[in-house]
């Protein structure tokens, strides 16, 4: 251990580089050279990559615990510095924050929280790689599958080990991309490809929230590194008016009495939570997870049980110091979690597809994790993530091995997953049955199993703790809020126990409904074709899966059973909580335990046990003893309710109608605007106008010479008229008007012109002189009218007058309306020439 520590010092912990590099290299090699390596080569490459990474993670974890252990040996190690090994690769880019530049590095770090998560990802990942090496053995895209799986492990590690929010975002989107590729793995069918697309776009909506959160953090906190964020909480605690936006003229009914203000941590936390909802399939954005079952089963096990969906909770745990600053956000997190738990559990009742049941149970369990994290019990919430990874992973893999067995005879996709075709598999698949039962017990919360400890810890903490507001005036959750969450949780737990055991009894108990089992039946090729027909299928008995599939099941079942001992508060075995204490130290200071709540711990444990008994017993009674008849009775009694629940409360159709409908309509209007309004106006209208003018002018070209000559004569006549009539214009030089007040008028010259000037209303006297300029002086704020009369050589005269005013800054000129506007502008239109040119003498 010593030379490891010397080789990898704490602040330049390049071991992380190796941990990340291995899956990446594995993915690249499988992806590019997969076909040439063949199945064996690809399998060894993929397994060794993830395995090696797992070993390195173990080493890193060991160094972490030893470093941590050295400080706080034994119990209650006290608040010592967060042991964090960081490795900075290179400077990614710098952004301009509110006051200073924000450097963003490609940096990775491991601390107790991400250490444990790292182990889960690589450990469970390795098991699933082993499992799928057998499960996918007959699939043509074998190498492509392992490339995507390795890429997924790499992205998940980047997400977990990211030292700042930007690198976390890289992993976040990378994981979204890999789930898109893996869900849509069998892209041949439209349904599966669109399931992948749906997953990516829903995740993308979540990423929108994360992007906005990051922008806000850059602006307010001036950094994205988790460690510096934790210390810069003072910069964050300020208020910001959210609505109405200043400067935006809004209709009056939109403007509330006093502007809605929200504290910055609330806004950031809510934005982050939008990201978590997208990724961890919470209520509004959970729709992609059930459809994601279109992917191969190991994918569902890895992504939709163990790793990716837990990324949301990891983010909330990682930024716990931020969430805790705003009780409102914590309440929202806990509330959404509870509602999702109950909602998903209700749907799972009526599902007949085994994987769909497990999918909805995942959504519901995620709800529980958010309840835990939302009510301040970060350690408990995150512990539920671990235990869930084990038992849900095991459940999915059991389902996989069952489907694998059913596939030998029933080849179409839906049929092999439908529980109605299963039943009585206890006898044929003992190991799968045993592991399925253990995981079922764990998830249902049978006492002493890991599920029991983690779920009840979450519920207890929800019941007993409250978030204190750091700033005065912040909204604080009402006192009864914890209890309401607890009630929803218990109700959800009952449903969970019921539907899990329903699935268990339907698959493993009763008699086999798949096909008539014929002893010694040789499943030859010909058999498959006619098996498609509706007629009674027959084939060999479903046999147990090979060791590559059952070994991971056993390991996971073991952890599902004994995982709870790591953090069993009632038994005072809180090793994990102490291990994580430094990470959640700063957050837990805000979490206050309600008075007298601790005493309630044991009674609530009792409630937990009874919940398990009620749920499991009910399922046993309905499905094992009565063979499912009460279920049919219930369906007959409330057919419409059953149908709605079976159609998943028609949430997809609702989204289709509203959200997609709205965007579709917007798209159509945009295209219409583009084609008719913009293209129409700019392109076609101008073309039409020019054509119009063209046609008009073409009429003049008659082709007859005399018409042109007549035109010329008219032109000459007009010119003649212009020359003959006199024109009176004058240029006013008012440059010195403001300073000294004198103005000079210079009349426009003309052939044989003579001028006569007059001031004010004085009659025109005197004869026409050749003096073309005239100047006068104005007092302050005085307005004067000057009249000019012009006579040309033919005796025609015309007259015009100008008014000028000396503006003295206090716009006294404009004050008097009568004086006309301030700027000197020739006032009267050109008068008709005083006398027709033909007229006699002046």
């Amino acid at each position: 251990m010593e030379q490891l520590r010397t080789q990898f010092p704490a602040d330049d912990f390049s071991l992380l580089a190796l941990v990340l590099l291995l899956p990446l290299v594995g993915a690249f090699v499988c992806g590019v050279f997969g076909k040439r390596l063949g199945k064996e080569g690809v399998r060894t490459m993929a397994l060794s990559a993830v395995g090696g990474s797992f070993v390195l993670c173990l080493a890193a974890f060991a160094m972490l615990t030893s470093a941590g252990g050295a400080h706080g040996a034994g119990h209650g190690g006290g608040g010592h510095a967060v042991t964090r090994f960081t490795w900075t690769a290179w400077r990614w880019f710098t952004i301009d924050g509110g006051t200073s530049t924000v450097p963003i590095d490609v940096a990775f770090s491991v601390d107790p929280l991400s250490g444990v998560m790292m182990l889960v990802v690589t450990g469970v990942g390795f098991l699933i790689h082993l499992y799928s090496s057998e499960y996918m053995s007959k699939d043509p895209g074998y190498y492509r599958f392992f490339a995507y799986l390795n890429l997924f492990v790499f992205s998940m590690l980047v997400l977990i080990l990211g030292d700042n929010l930007a690198v976390l975002f890289v992993g976040w989107e990378g994981v979204g991309l890999c789930s898109y590729l893996l869900i849509g793995f069998w892209f041949g069918e439209d349904r599966k490809a669109s399931a992948g697309k749906k997953a990516f776009i829903t995740n993308r909506i979540g990423d929108f929230g994360l992007l906005v959160a990051m922008a806000m953090l850059v602006y307010y906190a001036g950094t994205l590194r988790f460690s510096t964020l934790e210390t810069s909480q003072s910069a964050l605690s300020q208020m910001r008016t959210v609505w109405p936006i200043p400067g935006l003229e809004l209709p009056s009914w939109l403007i509330p009495a006093q502007p809605i203000r929200a504290s910055v941590p609330t806004l950031v936390a809510l934005a982050l939570f939008v990201g978590c909802m997208g990724k961890s399939a919470q209520l509004p954005l959970y729709v992609w997870l059930p459809d994601a079952m279109a992917g191969p089963t190991p994918v569902s096990a890895l992504i939709h049980a163990a790793t990716m969906v837990t990324a949301g909770i990891y983010l909330v745990a990682r930024t716990s110091f931020l969430f805790v600053l705003s009780p409102f956000a914590m309440a929202v997190v806990a509330g959404t979690g509870a509602l999702t738990a109950l909602f998903a559990a209700s749907i799972a009742f009526a599902q007949t597809d085994l994987k769909k049941v497990l999918a909805y149970s995942t959504v519901s369990q995620l709800g529980y994790m958010f309840v835990g994290v939302g009510s301040g019990a970060f350690a408990a919430g995150f512990f539920h993530v671990l235990t869930h990874a084990f038992f849900k992973g095991c459940l999915f893999l059991c389902a996989g091995s069952v489907i694998h067995a059913m596939h030998h005879v029933i080849h179409d996709e839906e049929g092999s997953q439908d529980m109605r075709n299963m039943g009585g598999l206890r006898k044929h698949m003992p190991i799968t049955h045993a592991t399925f039962l253990i995981s079922c017990l764990a998830i249902a919360g049978c006492p002493m199993t890991s599920g029991f400890f983690s779920k009840d810890e979450v519920l207890f903490k929800a019941f007993s703790s409250q978030i204190a507001a750091t700033q005065p005036g912040l909204w604080v959750a009402p006192a009864w809020y914890g209890q309401a969450i607890y009630a929803l949780g218990v109700l959800g737990a009952v449903c969970t126990a019921f539907y899990m055991f329903r699935a268990y009894f339907l698959t493993f108990w009763g008699d086999f409904r798949g096909w008539t089992i014929v002893k010694g039946h040789v499943a030859h090729h010909g058999d498959d074709e006619h098996a498609h027909g509706e007629g009674p299928r027959e084939g060999a008995a479903p046999h147990e899966s090979p060791w590559q599939m059952t070994l991971p099941l056993a390991v996971l079942a073991f952890f599902a059973l004994f995982g709870g001992l790591v953090y069993a508060e009632p038994l005072h075995l809180t090793a994990l909580e102490r291990f994580w204490h430094p990470v959640f130290a700063s957050a837990s200071t805000h979490v206050v335990e309600r008075a007298g709540a601790h005493a309630m711990m044991w009674p609530l444990l009792g409630v937990g046990a009874t919940v398990f008994a009620v749920g499991a017993g009910g399922a046993y009674y309905v499905y094992a003893q009565q063979g499912g008849k009460p279920a049919e009775a219930f369906v007959a009694a409330a057919p419409s309710l059953h149908r709605i629940v079976r159609d998943k409360w028609r949430v997809d159709e609702f989204y289709e109608a509203t959200v997609l409908g709205f965007i579709d309509a917007m798209g159509d209007t945009a295209v219409a605007i583009d084609k008719w309004l913009i293209d129409g106006v700019i392109a076609r209208l101008t073309a039409a106008v020019t054509q119009l003018f063209g046609a008009g002018l073409r009429l003049l070209q008659t082709g007859r010479v005399q018409v042109y000559a007549a035109g010329m004569v008219l032109g000459v006549a007009g010119l003649g008229w212009f020359i003959l009539t006199p024109h009176a214009e004058a240029e006013i030089d008012s440059s010195k008007l403001r300073s000294s007040g004198d103005v000079t008028f210079t009349a426009a010259p003309g052939h044989g012109y003579s001028y006569r000037w007059a001031e004010g209303e004085a009659a025109q006297s005197g004869d026409f002189t050749a003096a073309a300029t005239f100047s006068t002086k104005l007092e302050r704020c005085q307005t004067k009218q000057v009249r000019l009369e012009v006579r040309n050589v033919f005796g025609g005269t015309t007259e015009t007058s100008f008014t000028t005013c000396r503006e003295m800054g206090n716009d006294c000129c404009t004050a008097k309306p009568a004086a006309g506007d301030a700027t000197a502008r020739p006032q009267t239109p050109l008068q008709a020439p005083a006398r027709a040119p033909m007229g006699g003498t002046p």
Partner: protein, 659 residues
């Protein structure tokens, strides 16, 4: 040039050599060479902190002054020369064209060898038309250097791709490409408004020919529409340019078209009807020409038509480089010459960019059934991001915008190349014609997916870095004052729509059942086509992971430009009632190097004294200091404050008086 970066690059080259399953060695070597060069360039260009520290007046002897003239002139002259070559030998024509492109690309790399300190580099001034004060004034700085390299990088690729598919009139095609490259580089480096206008117009001609001759069905209509749209815009710009020059003459009785001199002119701004104020009209004329080119919302309808009808090579160059001229010119000329007006209108322009550009472009793209039209509308969306970055006018916003310009060039260029591959096989681009071709063309699908992810902006590719810098910059921007937050959120929302329309198209084309019988035996992407796309894909990842090789060269220029922009438009805009000439000391001394009167040495004593005093503190602020971030921020804020003070106590000069 330490050897450290060479080893990983060699390794990557070996892998690239082995990667293609069945390809002629010629293409394998090509691929390996491209990989080696691009990855090694990361090492060589890696910022070792020498950028900002280099003293501003360090001897720039290493800069060969004629480099920019060579970059502009060489392709144009070669284009003319190619016209004289015999028409019957297309291979000779192609050979000459490749040689010219190769030489100009290598020459453009010399631009990167010099540390881009704030101020002009490779500046070359030759008096051209003395009577009108027009000078051949070309220079580059941090902002335009990468756009030049982008031009010399993508045009050869476009030519290489189009030589593969276009079989008629080789000579005209080569000439068109060469002249196009010369004109575009000219437009990027011109600092004399007249020279800029010449290249701005010259650039249209080859593209007009390309669309018109080798275009699709209604190519004439599209090329005429393209030409008319840009022409009307640039004619307005010419009018405004002349007015500006005339005002400058009124103020200093000296004729000059030089950008440095004209940027000192402040046109009268607000009369009662704002539309009548000179600065608004000039700004509007300039910006209209650039908005048409970008294209911004109402003036964008020429782009889809032009792209649909343009040949593959033409489309690539149009998307990769020509659109960037609009955004670059807005940054350089509109914001440079009229800081007051562009700052005041930043808020609503930002809304225009978000709603009209990002969201509208995405919605339209979603509804298109022609892949090229879809990619064209996606360009409108991406460039909406770029414009938002520019309107925000924060250092990271502008850097993000410039980075996004380069990214868009690479991603959309690659997209058009790949669509060209499909078009060559099926001679149709209707999405409904394709379905499930991932089975028949696996390698092509992988390439297309990588480029789609870059276009969507998945982190790890270049799209994300640009978009995130723009969003963060908009959020922080003071120019957008209270709208910054909303516009940033709108832009972030655009990221979702990008995923919607791109993946929608990818699903319809690649995934799903192989329904259309014609697609059954499409052959996969040939090594030659893959070689054309390879450099772009590699650069997507290189910029995705190592954007600092680019941002580091941009930052000094962008920061000094942004300071100048903020400083000219101090936070309390005192709108000038009459035309006024700003004193020289309000500009960083490195900016005015090469300004016309600087040579004439004629300015009155007042400004002379002022420049000396300003130069002293400016030099002190930029004195070499360690590259830690806190000091740069403190120095920057102090300098900013001190110049702001000078701007406040500026005596109000009389209208039209000598400064």
């Amino acid at each position: 040039m330490s050897l450290a970066p060479v080893i990983p690059a060699l390794l990557a080259a070996a892998v690239a050599y082995v990667m293609p399953r069945k390809a002629a060695t010629k293409h394998r070597i090509g691929l390996a060479a491209v990989t080696f060069f691009l990855l090694a360039s990361v090492g060589w260009l890696w910022p070792d902190g020498t950028q900002a520290v280099a003293k501003p007046d360090a001897p720039t002897s290493t800069e060969w002054p004629y480099l920019l003239d060579f970059l502009i002139g060489f392709p144009i002259v070669a284009g003319l020369f190619v016209l004289f070559l015999p028409r019957q030998m297309p291979s000779l024509l192609r050979g000459v064209t490749y040689a010219v492109f190769a030489v100009s690309f290598v020459a453009s790399l010399a631009l990167l060898a010099v540390p881009m300190t704030p101020g002009w580099h490779f500046q070359h001034i030759v008096p051209w038309i003395e009577s009108a004060g027009i000078r051949w004034h070309v220079a580059t700085d941090g902002i335009s250097v990468w756009l030049i390299v982008l031009t010399t990088f993508t045009t050869p690729i476009a030519a290489f791709a189009s030589f593969g598919s276009i079989k008629s009139r080789h000579k005209e095609l080569c000439a068109a490409f060469l002249m196009l490259q010369g004109a575009m580089i000219g437009a990027f480096v011109a600092l004399d408004l007249f020279v800029f206008y010449v290249f701005w117009e010259l650039m249209l001609v080859p593209m007009f020919l390309m669309i018109g001759i080798w275009g699709g069905a209604e190519k004439i209509k599209a090329s005429v529409k393209f030409f008319l749209f840009t022409m009307t815009g640039s004619v307005l710009m010419l009018g405004a340019m002349l007015y500006l020059v005339w005002t400058h003459h009124e103020l200093t009785s000296q004729w000059t078209f030089d950008y440095l001199a004209l940027s000192r002119v402040v046109l009268p701004d607000t009369q009662k009807p704002v539309v009548m104020s000179a600065q608004f009209l000039c700004w509007f004329a300039f910006s209209l020409a650039f908005f048409i080119k970008v294209p911004m919302w109402p003036l964008h309808t020429w782009l889809p038509d032009a792209h649909v009808q343009a040949p593959t090579g033409g489309s690539v160059v149009l998307a990769a480089v020509m659109l960037k001229l609009g955004t670059y010119a807005y940054l350089r000329f509109s914001m440079g010459l009229f800081p007051f007006r562009s700052a005041i209108l930043a808020g609503n322009l930002g809304a225009f960019a978000v709603i009209g550009g990002i969201l509208y472009g995405a919605l339209c793209a979603w509804k298109q059934d022609d892949i090229k039209k879809l990619v064209a509308y996606s360009s409108v969306a991406h460039l909406g991001f770029v414009m938002l970055g520019l309107f925000g006018a924060t250092p990271s916003g502008i850097q993000g915008a410039i980075l996004q310009m380069v990214n868009h060039g690479l991603a959309t260029g690659a997209l058009f190349l790949l669509v060209g591959v499909l078009y060559d096989r099926r001679h149709t681009r209707e999405v409904s014609e394709f379905g499930g071709i991932a089975k028949v063309m696996p390698v092509y699908t992988v390439l297309f997916l990588i480029v789609t992810m870059a276009s969507i902006g998945v982190p790890g590719t270049n799209g994300f870095v640009g978009e995130f810098m723009v969003i963060a910059g908009t959020f922080v921007s003071k120019r957008l004052n209270q709208f910054g937050a909303i516009e940033a959120i709108g832009a972030a929302f655009g990221v979702i729509l990008a995923a919607v329309y791109m993946l929608g198209m990818v699903q319809k084309v690649f995934f799903g059942p192989l329904s259309n019988p014609k697609n059954k035996h499409l052959d996969d992407i040939t090594p030659r086509e893959a070689l054309a796309v390879a450099p772009l894909v590699i650069m997507i990842f290189v910029i995705g992971f190592f954007p600092s090789i680019m941002t580091d060269r941009m930052r000094p220029a962008v920061e000094s430009y942004q300071q100048q922009f903020v400083h000219l438009f101090s936070d309390t805009p005192e709108t000038p009632l009459a035309a006024r000439l700003l004193p020289r000391d309000m500009f960083p001394p490195s900016f005015l190097v090469g300004a016309p009167d600087a040579e004439a040495g004629g300015p009155s004593a007042v400004t002379e004294a002022a420049t000396k005093t300003a130069a002293a503190p400016a030099k002190a602020a930029e004195a070499p200091k360690p590259r830690s971030d806190e000091d740069t921020n403190r120095a920057r804020a102090a300098r900013n404050e001190e110049i702001m003070q000078k701007f406040k106590n500026l005596p109000l000069r009389k209208a039209g008086g000598e400064p």
